[in-house]
Structures are given as structure tokens and as C-alpha cells.
Amino acid sequence: MTVSAHVAPLLSARGLSKQYAGRGGCVEIDLDVYPGEVLCIVGESGSGKSTLLNALALRTPSNRGTLTYRTRDAGTLDLIGLAEPQRRMLSRTEWGFVHQNARDGLRHGVSAGANIGEPLMAIGARHYGRLRETAADWMARVELDAARIDELPSAFSGGMQQRLQIARNLVTGPRLVFMDEPTAGLDVSVQARLLDLLRTLTSKLHLAALIVTHDIGVARLLAHRLMVMKDGRVVESGLTDQVLDDPQHPYTQTLVASVLPV
């Protein structure tokens, strides 16, 4: 294998495992995410892909393995056993996490504008006028009507709430965003709009994204690389179009063959 390390990875996992009472979860995962790259983890429910995402994003502790992250200016951090204040700092300044359900990623008691402004306040922004201006700007960038800045999230449709959640996550200028099934549960037309938005934003902002999805179409559209998971393990990985057009593993072949033609 030719070594291609022109750039060092942002996030690196080796032999990472997270199991529940010795069962389920994900086992012995090796993974690298490079700057500006979209990596999709595909697999059916129960394959361990969401567990893996949560373990990588430090939302659940791992049982075994190593995990490191290369920060903007504090060098490379060993994420296993990272102290809580550091973890919180990391998720405020370097990371984003987009939940499948917008209601898990938004604060429902405050306005759309406050949802976007809040992460900035958490890292020290105080100037009200500028916060509001930034919030309005981000609403426009995710194709929401900035005139609705004072409305509560519940006044927005599901697809709009998802875009609001994305704005809330990107406003701090993260380098890596974790996404758990960001388009699941949305109407197909709403999905297409969200996918287009994600595609544009990740490429324009040179954002690295780790996206968990069961939808092959989403992976084909967004991902540079794919990892296919089954029963907690990675069974195949590689260039997106290669894995989908010339799948090697029996499970990947079944997965690809099961996609309904459009």
C-alpha cells in the first residue's frame, strides 16, 4: 500500500471497541478522517454504526483502543481519558454534532436566532448586535427566511428544523462534524434540498464530516469514502464509487443490490 500522507488525519481510531455487556456495539475499528473529507459509514440498523459515531465523538466511553484528534493549535490530543472540560471545549470549538432528530439538537424554549447565537456565546461572544447579525446570516446560508429569526423552532417544519440544527452546528466554524442519519425521516424532496446544502457547505467550508447513514443514495452523493459495517465490524471500505459499483464483500453486494432503481 502506497503511503499517501500528504496531510495528517484529523481524527484517528485504532482498534476502537465499544460494546454493551460484551455484546453489540462496534468492534476493533480502525479509521482516519482527513481534513475536508466526507466519510460515510453505512450499514443497517444494529450494525453498530451509531455506536461507533458516538464513541468517536466522545458521547459514549470506549472499552478498548486508541483515539486521537489533531487540533487547530493545541497539537494532537489523546481522546481516551480526556478530561471533561477539554472534551467540552473540543465539542464547542472544533466539532459539531448533528442529530437525526432536530429536537435532540435544538433548544426548544428559545428562538431560532438564539439557537444559532448560543454556541457562539459559549465560546465568549457577547456583542448582541453582531450575534444577531451572524444568526441572520446563517439562517440565509441554510436557506431559512431570516425574517423568522425570533420564532421558536417548533414553528418550523421538520426539514427547516434540521437546517436550523446544521446552522447551530456550523456557526462556530468547526473542522469536523459528526452527523447521525441527518436526512432520515424527511420527505424525499426535503432530503434532496438538505443533501445539496450539506454537499455545498462541506466543500465550501473545507469541512470534514463523518456521516452515519443507512441510505446508499445519501452516501453516493455526499461521501468521498465509504465504510460498510455489519455486526459491529467494518467489512469493506474504500472510494465511494468503487465500493458501490464494484462491491467485494458479500454483505456490500447485498446492500447495493437492494437499492431500488430510481
Partner: protein, 261 residues
Amino acid sequence: MNANADLSNELAFARRDALMLRARGIAKTFTLHQQGGARIAALHGVSLDVERGECVVLSGASGAGKSTFLRCIYGNYLATGGTIAIRDDSRESRHVSLTHASPHDVIRLRRTTMGYVSQFLRAIPRVSSLDLVSEPLVSRGVGEEDARARASALLERLHVPRRLWALAPATFSGGEQQRVNIARGLIAGQPLLLLDEPTASLDAENRDVVADLIVEAREAGAAIVGIFHDEDTRERVATRVVGLDELTKQSPSNTGILQTC
């Protein structure tokens, strides 16, 4: 065998300035796990050198493996055996071995060096034709305005009606989609082009335009491997027409160390 191939490639790319692509003994077998592990052998050791300014047209009956071979070169299919090397002067060895490259290397090669135009456009929902065509330039650092101007000129030349430029091509006719696809594939002027029947559903007038574009790319120094079923187009663009069977060695065991000079 690998060290041998690397060394012979290094020599070839150093000695022959014009060499862009060297495929040696490419074999491809598909294993269909869903169908009891049936194995379909598509390629049996195909070897080909392509130089700058050359347009090699692959001939052979449908099902002979021509598209499979192109897809192996593009890294879309994984070759089961053999080596594919592509010129990369930024490296000391003057080439990248595609058959051992990481996904990142393949992505980089596709951005800097090789383009692929298939018969079908893989449309991206909601992205306008103009953006689709200018995107390869923008991703290479060309300013958006400049990129759009060049994309417009190319779409104009391919007779894609101006009223369609702002629309996503999902609803276009087959021929219109194909022309958007060709524009997207040719706009960046990559030095290695892989063309899989890019004129299949075009009328005579547009086939001529595409043939002109391909000849221009070739004369500008691109190395081209293509599949064209249309006799006229083939005649116009090809510097060489070769059957896949002529490129296939009877005994693939000795192709790895084959040397030309």
C-alpha cells in the same frame, strides 16, 4: 512481481516523456456472492501503453470488457490482477501505481490528471447544468466567474439551449444530459481522458461537435482511451484502433516484466 513492475514502470516513465498510462496484465473477475459465488471473468491480462497526443479506440464486441477496462483505469473497478501506472511528475518515480493507491491518491489523480465520461450523467439533485459544468474548474481553483464563462462557452458550443443552463439536468432529454456530461468531463482539460461511448445518444450534428472537442483535446496533448461505436466518430478521433483481444496476452504470467523502448 510487484517490485519488478514498479521498477519497469519507473524506467518507462523516465525514458518516455510522452507516456501517460501503462496498463500491464489487467485481469478482472467479478465474484457474485448473491448468486452462489459465481465468478465472471471479464478481463484476462490486458496490456496497453498510451502516450500524450494519442487517442486509442478500443474495439471488440459488446461484452468484451471494454468498459470494464476503462473503469479499472479510473479506479472505479478494482482490478483483480496486473498493474496500472499513471504519470505523475510530482513524484520521484514519475508515476502513481493506481492498482496500489489509497482512495485519497485516486481522488487526487482524478482531480489533477484523469477524467472519465460515461454514457450516463449521474445527476446531482438541484444542481444547475452551468454549475455542474463549471464545478471541475472551481474545484481546481479557477474563480467562479471565470469558470462560469468557460462553462457557458462550452455549453453553447454543444448546443445546449441557454434556457436549460439554470436547471438541473434530471429532466433533460438523453442527448441533452449526455452533452452536459461531456462538457463536465472535458472542461478541465485533464491530460488523461477515458471516454465510454460519449456520443452514444447524440444526433449527427452534435456528434461532430463532440468529435471536434476530442480531437482538440488530443492535439493539445491529452492521452485518450475511448470506446466509440459510431464509425465516423471513431475514424475522426482515433490515432489507433485496437481490439481488446489483441491487447490480451495468452499467458499473463510474463506481462509484468514486459519492457518496451
